[in-house]
Amino acid sequence: MSERDLAAPAELRKDQRHVFALIPEGARVLDLGCGDGALLAALVSRRGVRGHGVEIDDDRMLDCIRRGLSVVHEDIDEGLAVHPDESCDFVILSQTLQATRDPRRLLREMSRVGRASVVSFPNFGHWRVRLELLFRGRMPKSRDLPYEWYETPNIHLCTIADFDDLVRDEGFVVRRRILLNGRGNPMRTSIFAGWRASGAIYLLQHGGDARPT
C-alpha cells in the first residue's frame, strides 16, 4: 500500500480515512453498519468500488438512499442472511464489533461473505482505560467509549490481545494491523501496543485461498 493511497477524502472521519486507504480500486465491498453512507459513497465515487451497505437506523438509511447507495436495512446481530457466500472482496465492520451480540459469529459470517475483512474497534486495554478502572474503580469512559455502563451499546469490549487471540483461534490471517494513538493517528511502532493504542484497524484474510490484498 503506497503513501499516495492514503490520501482519503477530507469529509470522512479519521478512522474512516484509514479504512478507505485499505480498499483497492474496483473492489467489491460490503460495509456493515455503514451509518450515513459517507465511507461507502466515497469508495464508490472515488475508488470505483462496487459497494453495498447494511444499516439498522431509519434516519441513516434515509441518508444512504439520498446518496443513491445500495443499502439493506438489516440487523447484523441477526446474521447476514441476504448476502451470498463469497459475494465481495472486503467486508467492513467499523467501530461496531463491540456492540454486537455475538462478535465471533459475526466474524464467521463476514468470512463467509467476503474474502477479507476490515475490522476496527476501540482498545479496552488502553492505559487510560486500565488506570481508570484501577484508580477510580469505575467503568471507564473516554472519547471512544463515552457511555455510562448501564446505557452503553458496547456489550462486548475487548483488548487488542483479546482480539488477536480470537483472530488466531478462528484461523484468520492478519494482513495488516493499524494501531491508532489517542489522536486517531497511526502509531509508528507497536511497542507496548496493548497499552498505547486507543484503537486498532485489522485487515483480515479468510482461509488460505484468498488472493493477497
Binding site: 467489491r28 462496487r50 438509511m61 434515509l62 438512499i65 447507495l69 442472511a81 448476502h83
Partner: protein
C-alpha cells in the same frame, strides 16, 4: 413531511391498443385485440420524454391514483402521495397509471364485449398473467411515445408488475420500486385467494360468470371474498387497536346472530362498499394472475431473468404486514444481491399491516420521495 398540493381535477383517458389482426399475445397462448386501456397522467411530460414514473396499481386499484374527477369529490387511491411537493412530485415527474387488463375500471376485461360473439366475455375472457398486464402497459407507453421509464413503482400486486417490468423490459426501466410485495405467493397466500374465488363462484347469483346477463351480481360471494381479504390487509394489532371487543350500536351481546361486534360491522361495510365498485369476474382473474406470478422459480431461471437487468431497486416492507411480510421482501433482496444488483431495502415499523403501503407512514414516504427525487436529479 410537507404535504404538498393536490393535482386537482383530472380525467381518465382511454387508449385503443392492438387489433384483431395484430392482437396482444398472452402467456396462455390466447390472443386479445382490440384492447382498451384506461389511464391517467399527472404532471408534464418533459420534451426529452425522460421524466416518466409509472405507478402499477394493486389488486383492486384503478388508474385514478390522484386528484378528483369533475363533479366528484372522491380522491384517487394514492392521492396524498401524488402532486407538487409530494412523494411523486409532479413538478419533477410525469406520473402515469393505467388500469390492468382483466380489470374492471375502464380497461378491457371479463366485463367487456367479446368481439367474436357480441356477448360479454365473462369466463370466456382469456387468462392473463402479470407479464401480460405489463405487455399491455408497454403498448400504452408506445402509444404515448414514451421510450423509457425513470421509475416503475408498485405496492403489493403492483410491486409484482413493477418487478416484471424490470425483468421483461430492462432497457426501458431506470429504477424499480417494489413495496409490500413478493416474488411468489406462498401456499397460505394462494389458499386465501382460493377461498375468495370459491366464495364468488359458489354464490347462486354467479351463473358461471354470466351474472350480468341474468341481471344479477354475486354480491354475497364477492363481499365475503373482500371481507376475508380485508382481514389480511390489516394487522392483528391494528384491528385490536381499532375495534378490540367493542360492540356495535348496543350495550350487551345479543345472544343471536346479529352483528354484535364493531369489527363485524366494519367488515360488512367494507364488503358491501366493495361490491358496488368491483367486478366479481375481475376478482377471479386478478387473483389467479397473482397465484401464477413466479419470476424466479429456480436458481437458473433467476439468473436468466436477472442477467440483462441494469436498473436499481428500492424494496420496502412493513413490520406488521403478514400478507407479504418482510421476509418475502428479503427473499427478493437476496436474489437481487446474489446477482449483484443495486438494491436499497428498508422495513418500516408500523401497526398498519399490509395496507401501510397506501397510508401515511412518514419514514416510508420520506424514503420513497428521497429515492424518486434523486432519480430526477440524476437525469
Amino acid at each position: 413531511m410537507a404535504d404538498g398540493a393536490s393535482v386537482g381535477v383530472v380525467e381518465t383517458r382511454f387508449a385503443e391498443l392492438f387489433t384483431a389482426d395484430a392482437p396482444l399475445r398472452l402467456d396462455s397462448g390466447a390472443a386479445l385485440g382490440p384492447v382498451t386501456v384506461a389511464y391517467e397522467t399527472y404532471g408534464t411530460l418533459a420534451p426529452e420524454r425522460d421524466n416518466v414514473v409509472l405507478i402499477c396499481h394493486a389488486l383492486t386499484g384503478d388508474a385514478h391514483v390522484a386528484g378528483v374527477h369533475a363533479g366528484s369529490d372522491k380522491r384517487g387511491w394514492w392521492d396524498a402521495f401524488v402532486g407538487p411537493g409530494r412523494v411523486f412530485d409532479t413538478d419533477r415527474h410525469f406520473v402515469l397509471c393505467s388500469n390492468v387488463i382483466a380489470g374492471c375500471s375502464g380497461s378491457t376485461g371479463p366485463g367487456s364485449i367479446n368481439p367474436e360473439t357480441g356477448r360479454i366475455y365473462g369466463l370466456d375472457f382469456p387468462m392473463v398473467t402479470t407479464a401480460d398486464m405489463v405487455r399491455a402497459q408497454r403498448a400504452l407507453l408506445d402509444h404515448l411515445g414514451i421510450p423509457r421509464l425513470r421509475a416503475v413503482v408498485g405496492g403489493s400486486v403492483g410491486g409484482m408488475q413493477a418487478l416484471q417490468w424490470a425483468l421483461d423490459y430492462p432497457d426501458r426501466v431506470g429504477s424499480c420500486v417494489v413495496i409490500a410485495s413478493t416474488t411468489r405467493l406462498s401456499a397460505q397466500n394462494i389458499a386465501f385467494n382460493a377461498v375468495s374465488r370459491q366464495a364468488i363462484m359458489s354464490d347462486p347469483d354467479f351463473h358461471d360468470g354470466r351474472y350480468s346477463e341474468h341481471d344479477a351480481v354475486p354480491h354475497r360471494g364477492l363481499a365475503t371474498a373482500r371481507m376475508m381479504a380485508h382481514i389480511t390487509y390489516l394487522s392483528e394489532e391494528g384491528l385490536q387497536l381499532k375495534f378490540g371487543r367493542n360492540l356495535q350500536d348496543r350495550d350487551r351481546v345479543s345472544y343471536g346472530f346479529d352483528r354484535d361486534f364493531a369489527v363485524e360491522s366494519y367488515l360488512h361495510h367494507q364488503g358491501s362498499k366493495f361490491v358496488r365498485r368491483f367486478d366479481a369476474n375481475t376478482y377471479l382473474y386478478l387473483t389467479k394472475a397473482m397465484d401464477y406470478f413466479d419470476p424466479f422459480p429456480d436458481a437458473e431461471a433467476a439468473a436468466r431473468a436477472l442477467e440483462p437487468v441494469t436498473c436499481d431497486f428500492l424494496v420496502c416492507s412493513f413490520s406488521s404486514d403478514w400478507r407479504f411480510d418482510s421476509s418475502r421482501s428479503m427473499e427478493l433482496v437476496e436474489v437481487l444481491l446474489r446477482h449483484d444488483k443495486h438494491v436499497a431495502f428498508q422495513e418500516f415499523t408500523t401497526s398498519l399491516g399490509h395496507d401501510a403501503f397506501l397510508l401515511d407512514v412518514p419514514p416510508y414516504k420520506a424514503t420513497l420521495k428521497a429515492f424518486l427525487d434523486r432519480r430526477a436529479e440524476a437525469s
